[in-house]
Each structure stands twice: as C-alpha cells, then as structure tokens.
Symmetry: C2
Subunit: 328 residues, 2 copies
C-alpha cells in the first residue's frame, strides 16, 4: 500500500480514507479496541456487573465483537443459533468456526437449534411462510436471542452489526420513511418490559475494518454470504452506499452519526405515543398484537415452538477440552 | 415500443413503469394536465384571483409548466433570469427558447439581467465567491425570483422542479440529516413575511415525463445542461436514484410522497421554534442574520446590487409582435 502507520511509523496494513488514518497491525488493534470502548461508553451500552451475551454467527463481525469484548475485560458468553441451512453446508461451516473460536478464547458458547426448538429449520419455515427468507430468519433470530437472554439471566444482548449493515438499513428505512423503524434504529436499544438491552458496539466500523481486525487477530471466520441473501435488497443498498462513499468519503459514517445526533429523536418522539405492547397470548413474549409475529409465522409454516433447545459448551479456562452440557 | 394506450387503445408513446400506465400522445397530455390540476388542488398551490409568475429557464421543465398552467386557464406570466453564462452561449440559447415560447403562447415575459442588477454575471460572482457555482447561482435566482414577485405584486412563484430534482435534493438532505432543509422541502412553501408562496406543480413527474410533454406539445427547449453543473453532486445523486428506481420501480415517487405524508411534519415542528427572520440591514429582504446571504455573497464577490433591472416583453394576444417595454 505504501502507507506509513501514523502512530509508530511502521508499515501500515490499512488506510481509512474517512478517518484519514493509516495504521500498522498492532496499532490498528489498539485503535479498534479504543473505538469499541468509546462506543460502549458514549452510547451507554454496558455497565459494571452486567451479564452480556454476544450473538455469534461465525462471521467476521460477530467473532471480532466477541474477541474485542473479551480483550476489553467483559466476560461475555456466546450464543450461536443453528439455523439449519443445509445448502452449501452453510450452517455447518458457520457453527464450526464459532465452536473453534469459543474454545480458543475459552468462553462458554450456547447453541440453540432452530429445528429442535420450532420443529423446522429456517428453509422449511421460509417455504411455509409468505415472508422473504431474510424476514423469516431475522424474526426467528431476534425472538430466540431475546428469549434466550431473558431465560438465562443476561442483561444485555450484543450483536456484530457494522456500519455497512446499519447504513443500509437506515437508507432502506429512509427511502420508505418508516417512522417506526427509524425510531428504533440505534446502537443501543434500552431494555424495557420483556426485552433485554440490545447493543451494537461495532456500529462505527465498516465491513472492511472488522474483517481486518479479524484477520490480524487470526480469527478463522466463515466468508460465505448466506446462500439465501445473495439477491437481498440490503446487498444492493450496500453497493449504492459504497458508490456514495467513493464519491464523498465519510458519507456513510456521517449519514449514521448525524441521524443519531439530529434526527432519530424526532421519530422516537412521534412513535412513543403509538407503541403499546402486551404479552402474546401464545408465548407470553411482548407483542404489538394479540398473537406475536413469531408465533403467527411459526403457526402458518406448520411448526410448533416447544421451548429453546440449548446445548452449552463450557470451554472454561481450566478445562483441557470443552465440556458439553445439555440445558433445558 | 409496442405498448398500447390504456385509454384509447392507440399506439402508446410512453410507458410509465411506476404507474403501470402506457399512453398515446393525446391521452398523455390530458393525463398530464389532470395530474397538474390534482397537485395544485391537493397541495393548496393556487387559489382564485391570485397572480402567478413562472420562473422559466428555457428548459423542458419550466416551459412545460408554463404551457400546462396556461392550458389549465391560469394567466401566468414568465420570469426569465439572464445569468450571463457565456460559455457555449448557454444563457443566449436558453433566452432564445424562452422568448420564442412566450411569444408562441402570447404571455408576458419579464427578463431580469443579473449583470445589470448586480454589476457582474454569474461566472464573475462565482470567481469572487467561496461558494460552488450551483450554490451561488441558486442563491441569486431565489433572491431575484422572490424579490421580483414581491415588487411586481405576484402572489405565487411557480418553478419547474420535477420529481428527479426533488428526490435528489431529498436524498442529499437525508444523507446529511439537514433538519432545516428537510423542514422546508415541499411542493408548496406557504407565503410568510417577505416571501411569496412558492410552488412546484410538476413535482410528481420524472424528467422523462416532462420531456415527453414538451416534445408532444412542440415546445422547443434548451437541452444542454448548464456548463457549470456537469460535475454537480445533484447529477450524481440522480444517477444513484435511477439505479434504485430501476431495481425497485416506484421508489422515487414513494420516497418523496411518503416523506411529505409522514416525515416532513416532524422536521417542520422541530424547526418551527428555531427560525427567526428579520430584515437584512442592507437590502431589507428577510434574513436569518444581520446581513442576508445574498448581500454577503455580492459584497464578497465585488458586485453591487442596484435594484432589479427588468425588461418586459408584453406578447399580448392582440399584438402582432411582442412589444418591449423597460420597467424599473
């Protein structure tokens, strides 16, 4: 690249145009962790004594997040949701990366099987539903993540969403002016009845930046995109935003941070009066309707929710190998 | 094209994907005028007895607008601002198209010369200013249009902005979350102290749709883009929005109409408390600061505003040719 590290004058491995910053591998890791710490503090993500669970998919973002939280001293545990996507061995490969990483950092990993919990894996739910694959999968994951966190006494759920994810969602929400979604788009969604706090500590990093963090730290992650998402609108909008970034460097970060500092509150105020949650009459989780969207989707697709089926890999630091223990 | 007119089954000249509507030339003109009438009524643009002035540049949009307003029975007069852009004879050619059209529809045309009013044409103002060409030109045009309308007793100023113009501006404003601009972006900006009402009756039509209207009606217009604007961000953003429209037909119109119906009010409410106008200490026009942006720019560029220098072409329907009359 020919760039020199701004901090130590060594050979740079990354140049971040929007920050006008070139860094070598070691300095990059230090800078990355400092940014994560800053996001956590500025966005009031985590407080002393809280139990945090990281949703991990086996991809670069979530594994980097778990790695960074551990390096910063948070005793985060991992939650892997086995979606049961057999095409291209997608779920198998992503699980393998996750299990390997959990052992490496000696942290407990909880594995929830969609098929065992609902009776059908994601592909079968998609076939039985009228929703798009990404919509079904997102609904299932959000439900399981929150339910798991509540049932297992976690205070905070952390996900690996990066800047590219967030701006693509923001652009989509803005193109449709979906006030409700705009009101809820934030790196920190505070806890409320039936929901744990949800945080996205990597929201300031681009995809490239989380990938570089993973590579420098020797994290083996699944590089394949989900086989269902190849045509997804999100990928299209990411391409659009990359064109904008190319022409106006810094646009992506500015689009998101200006939204947070100036605009979100306006949508939130508008929405505050409208949202009214009650327990779903089937599963008791909070819902805007009599029956929640998850239960409606599961019923339509011919599944049946029988409770979360969880396997826990202890991976405790004193163990030689990982213990496996079935939980309720 | 192979399409059949939905109304008369004749050969269609246009297919509008987002409306799923193919029309022949005659039916298109009828449809176009109906849409303009609907916009005028829905957006409370014009009321009986009001005097309306159309800002005309010689391009397809503004000439189509003047044509449509005349066809709908509004006795609109035209205002052409001679920017003095000599490159490629841009101003000369655009003036020629405008004068020819005004004669053709036998309506009065007022011509304001920037050079005579401020002492310098646009290119010299740009050179003497720190603003971009489009910013200088926009500032000068908005100032002159409003001042002219007020000094000459017009109630309403109509401009030819089309859907592509509006969504490009909207996207730019959203990418920066410029609350003030978002609050004021509307097809109808109501009159207030020192400002006449500003309306954009063509806001529902794409560039292509106004061009087709102009062509069917035999309107000769200047096709060249302004020589200064070739690198403008607006053109880039229009390209971005065309990609989005291509993938998700109807996106542009939806982006704008949903903004109007759901989101704009939130920005407007937020802004209402903040804006405080007073007369500019130099020119007395309304200003957010002690000296207005126009007077500051003119001073910096070494110009001097000496009042609007207007030439009026009467083009009255009883005249054989156009009368020319100098106004103050």
């Amino acid at each position: 690249m020919g760039y020199i590290c701004k901090l130590c004058k060594g050979r740079a491995v990354i140049y971040m145009h929007h920050h006008r910053l070139a860094l070598c591998g070691d300095c990059y890791v230090v800078w990355f962790l400092k940014q994560v710490r800053r996001s956590i503090s500025e966005m009031k993500m985590l407080f002393k004594g809280e139990r945090v669970i990281v949703a991990v998919s086996g991809g670069k973002d979530s594994l980097s997040l778990w790695h960074a939280l551990s390096r910063l001293g948070y005793e985060a545990e991992g939650l892997y949701i086995d979606l049961g996507i057999g095409f291209d061995s997608y779920s198998e490969k992503s699980k393998e990366c996750t299990v390997e990483f959990a052992k490496k950092i000696s942290r407990p990993l909880h594995i929830v099987s969609v098929k065992e919990s609902i009776g059908k894996p994601i592909p079968a739910l998609v076939r039985g539903s009228e929703r798009s694959p990404c919509s079904v999968c997102g609904l299932v994951k959000r439900y399981i993540m929150n339910r798991f966190a509540i049932e297992h006494g976690f205070d905070v759920l952390a996900t690996g969403h990066n800047l590219d994810d967030e701006v693509a969602t923001l652009l989509s929400n803005a193109l449709h002016w979906q006030i409700g979604y705009l009101a809820r788009q934030s790196p920190t969604l505070p806890e409320r009845d039936g929901f744990v706090r949800r945080i996205k500590p990597l929201y300031r990093f681009t995809e490239k930046e989380t990938a570089v963090y993973a590579i420098i730290n020797g994290i083996r992650y699944i590089e394949d995109e989900c086989p269902y998402s190849t045509d997804a609108t999100t990928i299209f909008l990411k391409g659009i935003l990359n064109q904008i970034e190319e022409r106006m460097p810094g646009s992506k970060l500015q689009f998101y941070t200006n939204f947070l500092s100036r605009a979100r509150i306006l949508f939130e105020r508008e929405q505050a009066q409208k949202v009214n949650l009650r327990p779903c009459s089937i599963c008791s989780m909070p819902s805007a309707e009599e029956v929640c969207a998850f239960c409606r989707m599961v019923e339509r697709a011919g599944g049946k929710f029988v409770g979360l089926k969880v396997t826990k890999l202890e991976n405790s630091q004193t163990d030689k190998g990982a213990r496996t223990k079935d939980e309720e």
